[in-house]
Amino acid sequence: MATTQQAEPNKEQLLALYERMLLIRRMEERLRAEAAAGSLPGAVHLYIGQEAVATGVCARLQPTDWITSTHRGHGHFLAKGGEPKAMMAEIWGKRTGICKGMGGSMHVADFSKGILGANGIVGAGFAIANGAALSAKLHKDPRISVAFFGDGASNQGVFMETLNVSSLWQLPLVLVCEHNRFSEFTPSNEVTSGEIADRARAFKMPTTVVDGNDVVAVWKAAGEAVERARSGGGPSFIEAQTYRIQGHLEAESLFLAGGKYRDQKEIDEWRKRDPIDRTAARLSAAGVGAKDLEAINARVLRTVEDAVKFAMESEPADTELAFDLMFSGQKA
């Protein structure tokens, strides 16, 4: 794990960032295909195009640090070290899933790795991450907490409440807004007044706006914010500007029934700023050969293959488990 003071990721670190982003991408490309084939039980919200955000931020965290995620949470789960097999099994609704098939895509979580979970309630992660940060501060626990959330979630009042409480008490919290331009089928500017970053500035919170498709830029901004939180400097806000390449959810067109909310041209423009391609270019410039990149890709594809195979071959979820899980040591 890099010390957060470091200015630039070194080649090994950049390779690690690249491989993690590629893993997220390939996992989701597979999920996209499986969703299209109708082999997934529930809906999936894909992170394709936004991989640099989760990857750049989580690379600066300790395994014991906490993150809260969103309904679009596969990337955060994998970036924080979540198990590909356990994630796929969860999405397939199997008992070997990380949540035993009880949560699915919108709830992948691994508390043992500080992943407090994807969440189906937009804005829910703010207070959960803030509460974890409060607990750490009160108990002199060195861990810090990161909340990933969307531009749409920034319109939930709990966002302001979290800005107030965390800056008031100088909690070890990093707020990462993934501004991907949309909230479901609504362009962000149609529902968001002013600059989201200004909302954090109003609390005198250290604030950075970065290119969310540049993993190095994210890595740097996150490094400073994490260091600040870890050293008692209080919360920070990062807005990562990116773009949602996929629909809000797969099979979006069924919901749109011919309706349109963006142009293909815009999507194509953003494809040119693909965070993974840009990192590949950086690596080539740094002397990493095409063969090495191909090897990484092959390794990643094997991981995906194994994860899907594991998910498909696993036993279905336990239909009676819910009664034991609602409470700790108490039957529902």
Binding site: G42, V191, L321, M326
Partner: protein
């Protein structure tokens, strides 16, 4: 009469009521391109001053509905999933349900809140609650649970024309299903249950999404020689107690079917009303067929195991009929 889908009937009601009364406005998250389908086409037809997408801020949306109604609008607020009613619960429980009393009757709140409820689609626990029991306990809000396209259209019109906050609960599993819908303008009264099937052996009271599996169960029961009466309360507040009591007295044997979690469910309340007001006629225990006291799991097998289906309903009804 024409066959229409449930969602389509709701969409028609919205078109007709917004066309009928310029005071009707509709807002909510993603209502313009209609993520839930029911508001499709309204934006093109009525424009941005009548229907618009809001930011994600449920706590404000419910409070704004109160303010807009106080200012003279007839408000239709779309909350998307019933779980998000919890997110906007404060203004529902502390304002909408109480403001009229607290102001001595000054506040009139023509507000219709649409929300989709129920499981079966592997949407997991935060998108599958049948969240209406908590609304019933608030006292000051009406709640309707149409089970068919015809009832959906008629009850939505009644809600929009009415002067009280009314939760229009959309059965998510029924959205695509077809049914006969009367032509032209019609409404369905609040507080009027409908007896869907006549029977002398056991009375099945089914709420919203549970009407369909209950009717399937009744068919199975008939094959086994048990004639089931099936009653759909249609509106939970106000509740047609008279019809339910009559139904209970007719057979003396009652099963209540509700997709809500069991504890403090509507099924519980109906059973309580009947053991109070139809006691003398009861010949057997009143049984509830509900979702157990768990959040719905994501995995299809684990989720479906929790939701009442025709088999479970028929089994319980047989037990009650034979008791």
């Amino acid at each position: 009469m024409a066959r229409k889908r449930y969602i389509q009937a709701i969409n028609e009601a919205l078109f007709e009521e917004m066309g009928r009364d310029p005071k009707v406005i509709l807002f909510g998250e993603d209502v313009e391109l209609a993520i839930m389908g029911d508001t499709r086409g309204l934006h093109e037809k009525f424009g941005h001053d009548r229907i618009r997408n809001t930011p994600i801020c449920e706590a404000s949306l419910t409070g704004m509905a109160v303010g807009a109604a106080a200012a003279g609008s007839r408000v239709v607020l779309h909350m998307m999933f019933s779980n998000f009613i919890y997110t906007g619960f404060d203004a529902i429980a502390n304002q909408m349900a109480k403001l009229r009393l607290m102001t001595g009757g000054q506040a009139t709140m023509p507000i219709t809140i649409i929300a989709a409820y129920g499981g079966g689609g592997s949407n997991a626990a935060q998108h599958s609650d049948s969240g209406y029991p908590v609304l019933l306990n608030l006292g000051g809000v009406n709640v309707v649970t149409p089970a068919t396209p015809a009832d959906a259209k008629g009850l939505l019109k009644t809600a929009i024309r009415g002067n009280n906050p009314t939760f229009f609960m959309e059965a998510i599993g029924r959205g695509g299903e077809q049914g006969e819908v009367p032509d032209g303008d019609y409404t369905i009264p609040m507080g009027k249950a409908s007896v869907i099937r006549e029977g002398k052996d056991v009375t099945l009271i089914a709420i919203g999404s549970m009407v369909k599996p209950t009717l399937e169960a009744a068919t199975k029961l008939a094959a086994a020689g048990i004639e089931a009466e099936v009653i759909d309360p249609r509106t939970l507040v106000p509740l047609d107690e008279a019809a339910l009591i009559a139904g209970a007295k007719k057979t003396g044997r009652v099963v209540v079917v509700d997709e809500a979690r069991d504890r403090c469910s509507v099924a519980s309340h109906i059973a309580a009303v009947l053991v109070d007001k139809a006691f003398g006629a009861l010949k057997a225990p009143i049984k509830r067929v509900t979702v157990p006291n768990v959040a719905l799991p994501y995995a299809p097998n684990a989720e479906l195991r929790m939701i009442p289906n025709a088999e479970r309903i028929a089994a319980v009804a047989t037990e009650v009929a034979r008791a």
